[in-house]
């Protein structure tokens, strides 16, 4: 069959978010791939430069829906370090609890979506119904299911009452037992194994070379985890360990994510049980001294990096947000070449892309074939002639 360009995206049922793959396929085999992302670039970095430290947090939080707490924590942690501000221990514990709960619900969400990509809708329904327990806990603690608004420069905005702590502790064992059931399901459910094993293989050298981050890299044996390499909040004194795997394919990433799920449940239980007493925030000064910092954080999808530069005023001079999915695009494009057309959604879902974070376009190894891009006005004109012209009813 001659080379066929199969446009998967930007509005494609597999990816609930606007990414466009112009896949050049020969029959079912993929030869080349153009990735076209930036469909919801909102200029958050420019907008953040016009807001003071109190009003910038709701904006930074809205970079991404699923990892909103990650963005506010990494930003607040950076600003506090620039201000040499030591936030109370209880606030650090609460931040860790919310961060790990967010990791749990993000990984459960991913497990469901990955199963849906291969048509196994039952696991999608089950994982998402178990995820409700985590969402309810977060809603009780922070007042909202998506944007928790827990963070503030100088600490945490809401305290955890003993009832909330007990309600959360009661839900954890149920969740743990459900996750054990998923572990055993992923290990011996035939269609899941057949569709996950050996797909989108990424060797350790390739993962390092193409800069993969988070579970995608750890599944290929790359032993990087910011929570242990550059410890922040209370990860240094909470007993947990980094989950890595060796087989580097979608199956390996699933095992790493489920392993991390178990670790996160352990961390949340530890933090909830010995939550120290004390204040939950410190009055932060209005302005931050001149300086710059690279604040790193382990978001559910990988290593999130904020480069923050302040110039003594109460506004940030520059915040450069590099999201984990952006770092994973190079490696996913490498995995996709000469795989099956049917595996694109699974491989792409394996890096758990969060498009609203990354909003960047990457064009990977497209040769010099000239590609005409229709710009918006031409599209509008063509639309007008086509549908509203007189002879067409």
């Amino acid at each position: 069959m001659p080379e066929v360009i199969v446009p998967i995206g930007p509005h494609h049922p597999a990816l609930k978010e606007p990414v466009n793959f112009k896949v050049i396929a020969d029959g079912e085999k993929i030869i080349r791939l153009d990735l076209d992302l930036s469909y919801n670039h909102r200029g958050i970095e420019k907008a953040a430069e016009q807001r003071d430290f109190i009003r910038v947090l709701p904006l930074i939080e809205r970079v991404c829906g699923i990892c909103s707490h990650s963005h506010t924590t990494v930003f607040a942690k950076g600003i506090e370090e620039l201000m040499q501000l030591e936030i109370p221990l209880r606030a650090q514990y609460i931040r860790t609890i919310i961060a790990e709960l967010e990791r749990i619900h993000s990984h459960l969400l991913w497990l469901g979506v990955a199963a849906h990509e291969i048509g196994f809708n039952t696991l999608f329904m089950w994982t998402w119904s178990d995820r409700e327990a985590v969402q309810d806990t977060l809603e009780e603690m922070s007042g909202n299911r998506v944007h928790y608004g827990m963070n503030e420069v100088g600490g945490v905005r809401r305290d955890l009452t003993p009832e909330q702590v007990n309600a959360a502790l009661v839900r954890l064992p149920v969740l743990e037992e459900r996750v054990k059931k998923y572990v055993d399901m992923v290990n011996n459910q035939k269609t899941l194994l057949v569709r996950f094993k050996g797909i989108g293989k990424l060797s350790k050298e390739e993962a390092l070379k193409y800069g993969a981050v988070g579970p995608t890299a750890r599944a290929s044996g790359v032993d990087y985890d910011v929570r242990r390499d550059d410890p922040y909040l209370v990860y240094a004194d909470v007993p947990w360990n980094v989950v890595t795997d060796t087989n580097g394919d979608v199956y390996g990433r699933t095992r790493v994510r489920i392993g991390e799920l178990m670790e996160s449940i352990g961390i949340v239980r530890y933090c909830l049980e010995n939550l120290p007493e004390g204040p939950i925030r410190v009055n932060a000064p209005k302005t931050a001294p001149k300086g710059e910092i690279l604040s790193r954080y382990e978001a559910p999808r990988g290593e999130l990096v904020h480069f923050i530069r302040t110039n003594g005023t109460d506004k940030v001079e520059r915040v450069d947000i590099r999201t984990p999915t952006l770092a994973n695009w190079t490696s996913v494009a490498m995995c996709l070449v000469n795989q099956n057309l049917a595996d694109i959604p699974v491989i792409v879902a394996a890096i758990d892309p969060c498009l609203s974070c990354t909003s960047r376009i990457t064009v990977i190894n497209s040769d010099n074939k000239k590609e005409g891009l229709i710009n918006f006005d031409v599209l509008r004109k063509r639309f007008r002639t086509r549908y509203q012209s007189p002879e067409r009813p």
Binding site: E45, K46, V305, T330, L373, F376
Partner: protein, 159 residues
């Protein structure tokens, strides 16, 4: 985990190429000139065993444009290489062949800051949509959004 590299170990490795200072317990910042960025990166990769590029961040401090390459390795230290570029014709040799992930970050910085990376074939638009006017770089300090070009006009006056 091999032992973290110390400041003078870094200084001794890169005496002629740039100056280094210890910014934080596990951060070392090297400042160098745009011309020598490629060999600084190569030396940081081999001598300081940094195998991963975290990100390339760009900033505009009013006078000049700055580029900072952040690398890390199994020693868990972050080595940042900073360089300054003139505002009018910022040029820097590309590093996407040595560090493949740099391809994305360079394209992004080119779109938002207008820094030209020499030696790259496909420097097409990466962030902004196709019909964004040429050489308008939104993240520069001197660029202000002009309401006339908003899609669908301004959404109601923000009081």
């Amino acid at each position: 985990m091999i032992d973290p590299i110390t400041l003078d170990f870094v200084r001794e490795k890169i005496q002629d190429i740039g100056t280094a200072e210890q910014v934080r317990s596990n951060r070392i910042r090297i400042t160098t000139t745009p011309g020598r960025i490629r060999d600084v990166i190569r030396s940081v990769q081999e001598l300081l065993s940094c195998d991963r590029l975290l990100t390339i961040s760009a900033a505009d401090n009013g006078k000049t444009l700055e580029l900072i390459y952040h690398l890390t390795g199994s020693h868990r230290m972050v080595v940042s290489i900073a360089l300054e570029l003139p505002r009018d014709a910022p040029q820097v040799p590309t590093t996407s062949d040595i560090l493949p992930p740099a391809g994305i970050y360079e394209r992004q910085i080119h779109d938002l800051f207008g820094i030209l990376f020499q030696g790259r074939s496909d420097l097409k638009k990466i962030i902004l949509n196709e019909d964004w006017p040429e050489n308008e770089y939104p993240l520069r300090k001197d660029w202000a959004p002009d309401p006339g070009t908003f899609y669908g006009g301004i959404k109601g006056e923000r009081v």
